[in-house]
């Protein structure tokens, strides 16, 4: 290895760790300060304690907000995924005019600022004579989560061998039972991913919730935002925030691991695994049949 190469590789190593630090330092800070005994989040940390976790769990306003967000997130995950399946089925149709246009329309919420969407929803509810409500937050979250669902489900759907559906039809299944018995089970890994991504999108969302959540019923991000300006609340928020970070990481790791496991099981088949029985098969055939 030449000196230049060694230099390049050293630079890349430094860059890599700097990049990791850039990504994870803010998260690490939260987790570290969650265990800080002092009420003021400044270094140096003199003593460790779990008292802020205790305080956070005892604060029913805080836990109520987290639960509220979890419920809206779960509902959004289910609903947006269901809509995502239907939209993906439509978009993967064999012959579809203006496919690009439909894709663009469905993915539009990705690029519209959430704050504009929130204002729009607020005005719309007003025009319809409806009060702001958690239902409104849910609907807004479905709008922003749907594109993520499509982005997860559509590629999986398009990668399915169309012959699988034809085989189901050929063997006597009607269109609906072919979908239920073949398409749906094969989509399952992507449906789980879609649910989790939509859940997290909703759980994190601030702009729409801040406009549409009725007073006294804040979602977790809304509560966090208003509470962060109250110094007395800050340590609790840091504690619960650190739990949510760890929880999110766990969900991501589980979801990715689960997806890989399921896809390996469904698609099956590293080449090596399929090859060995083949040789055995030939031998058996030659001997027997």
């Amino acid at each position: 290895m030449t000196i230049v190469n060694r230099f390049t590789s050293a630079v890349l190593t430094v860059y890599f760790w700097a990049f990791i630090g850039f990504l994870f330092a803010p998260l690490a800070v939260i987790i570290v300060f969650a265990f800080n005994q002092s009420a003021v989040p400044v270094l140096p940390i003199n003593a460790l304690s779990t008292r802020w976790f205790q305080r956070a769990f005892d604060d029913t306003e805080l836990t109520g907000a987290v639960l509220r967000s979890a419920e809206i997130g779960a509902a959004t995950g289910l609903f947006a995924t269901a809509l995502g399946i239907m939209a993906s089925l439509g978009l993967s149709a064999h012959r579809l005019r203006l496919r690009a246009v439909f894709v663009a329309i469905l993915l539009l919420p990705l690029v519209v600022p959430y704050i504009s969407l929130a204002v729009g929803l607020l005005l719309l509810l007003n025009q319809l004579g409806l009060e702001i409500s958690l239902g409104g937050v849910f609907l807004g979250h479905v709008v922003i989560a749907l594109p993520f669902s499509i982005l997860v489900v559509l590629p999986r759907l398009r990668s399915l061998d169309p012959a699988l559906i034809e085989a189901a039809r050929d063997l006597g299944a009607g269109q609906i039972s072919a979908f239920n018995l073949v398409t749906l089970p094969l989509l399952l890994p992507s449906l789980v991913s879609s649910f989790l991504i939509c859940f997290v999108t909703s759980f994190d969302e601030f702009a729409i919730a801040s406009f549409l959540a009725p007073p006294g019923l804040p979602t977790y991000p809304v509560f966090l935002y208003s509470g962060s300006r109250t110094p007395g609340l800050l340590p609790e928020l840091i504690a619960i925030g650190s739990l949510i970070i760890v929880g999110s990481l766990a969900i991501v790791v589980l979801a990715e691991g689960g997806r890989r496991w399921a896809e390996r099981r469904l698609q099956g088949a590293t080449v090596a695994a399929a090859d060995e029985p083949a040789a055995e098969d030939v031998g058996r055939l030659a001997a027997g049949a």
Partner: protein, 364 residues
């Protein structure tokens, strides 16, 4: 016996492309019938119309005399073995095979019995609880076959089912497939681009080209009596030569090959006159020492000879201007020295091996 498929003026057009261009053929019940042709000739599209996956643009698909237009694939008494096998990856071998029986609302004991029987027949009983991904290519192919056959269809459609397998396994399965077809006695409609495969298994073959059927015949007839240059070429190598038919010669026709060389042909369209095309199979060309005399002999120069083990392939340039290939069986004699490139020889083209192609029947 049922299982007769009749295609009447069948046409399938995709936007700007005509895949199947008006074919008429009757596939008798209980036959092993192949659609043979190069890729893009319309054979798979034809099969898909019989299965019900594609709707004909015009024409009819008749199954035992009943028009299948508007009958969806799940209500047709035909089943398909797909090129990719299309086994359900999330189901075990047993559940794959039971899939169709469950759709037909057969009771559970009966399903268990029938699946067990068919898995025995394709020797997969011990793998019933495995997932398709845990099987070899050959085993997957058998599952696909069992899954279709367990429903006792009137016609089994097979779309290049051996295409993904290696040559040795293919040859074994060809023999097994034919045996299986004879055993179950139902119509097999088999799509392939492999002429050897079609020859090995089929009772009858329809050779397709550019959306048309060129010829329907038994394998031997296709090889010995090709109706068109395409068929002659597609079923093994064939030497195609231009000639002038000048008049009758005994039972056959006198042909002028190039300048001056007269030969007699006894096969094919012996009544044709004027410009014709004549074919001869390489294994029918005989190579003799230079100067050998007699009728139907043409002087030639060896261009190249290749030792193949069981035979020697010799490419010769005839004095008439054409180049042809001769396949000479290995008799144990070392022919290399006398057939060096540039060596002078005489080619004998026996009258019974020369076939005059019918004029006007060629689609090229």
């Amino acid at each position: 016996m049922g299982g007769e498929v009749r295609l009447v003026e069948l046409v399938k057009r995709f936007e700007s492309f005509t895949a199947v261009d008006g074919i008429n053929v009757t596939i008798p019940g209980g036959q092993f019938f192949s659609l043979l042709g190069p890729s893009g000739c319309g054979k798979t599209t034809t099969l898909r119309m019989v299965a019900g996956f594609d709707q004909p643009t015009s024409g009819e698909v008749l199954l035992d005399g009943v028009d299948m237009a508007g009958t969806p694939p799940n209500r047709r008494n035909v089943n398909t073995v797909f090129q990719s096998y299309a086994l359900f990856p999330h189901l075990t071998v047993f559940d794959n095979v039971a899939f169709g029986l469950r759709r037909a609302k057969i009771d559970r004991l009966q399903i268990k019995k029938r699946v067990g029987e068919i898995l025995d027949q394709v020797q997969l009983s011990r793998l019933a609880s495995r997932k398709p991904s845990q099987l070899s290519g050959g085993q997957q192919q058998r599952v696909a076959l069992a899954r279709a056959l367990v429903l006792k269809p009137a016609v089994l459609l097979l779309d290049e089912p051996l295409g993904a397998l290696d040559a040795k396994l293919r040859r074994q399965l060809q023999v097994e497939l034919k045996a299986l077809q004879e055993q179950v006695g139902i119509t097999f409609l088999y799509v392939t681009h492999d002429q050897e495969e079609a020859m090995t298994m089929s009772d009858h073959i329809a050779v397709m080209n550019g959306g048309h059927i060129e010829q329907v015949a038994a394998p031997r007839v296709l090889y010995e009596e090709p109706a068109t240059a395409f068929v002659a070429e597609f079923l093994g190598v064939s030497n195609l030569m231009e000639a002038q038919a000048t008049g009758p010669s005994g039972q056959g026709v006198a042909l002028q090959l190039g300048a001056g060389n007269m030969v007699e042909a006894l096969r094919g369209d012996v009544l044709a006159r004027g410009a014709v095309r004549v074919v001869i199979r390489p294994e029918r060309v005989e190579i003799e020492p230079a100067g050998a005399s007699g009728s139907n002999r043409v002087a030639a120069t060896v261009t190249r000879s290749v030792y193949l083990g069981n035979a020697v392939r010799v490419i010769v340039h005839l004095a008439t201007g054409q180049s042809i290939v001769a396949l000479v069986a290995n008799t144990g004699e070392d022919t290399t020295p006398s057939w060096n490139p540039g060596a002078a020889v005489t080619c004998c083209l026996p009258p019974t091996a020369l076939r005059v192609l019918p004029v006007n029947t060629d689609s090229q």
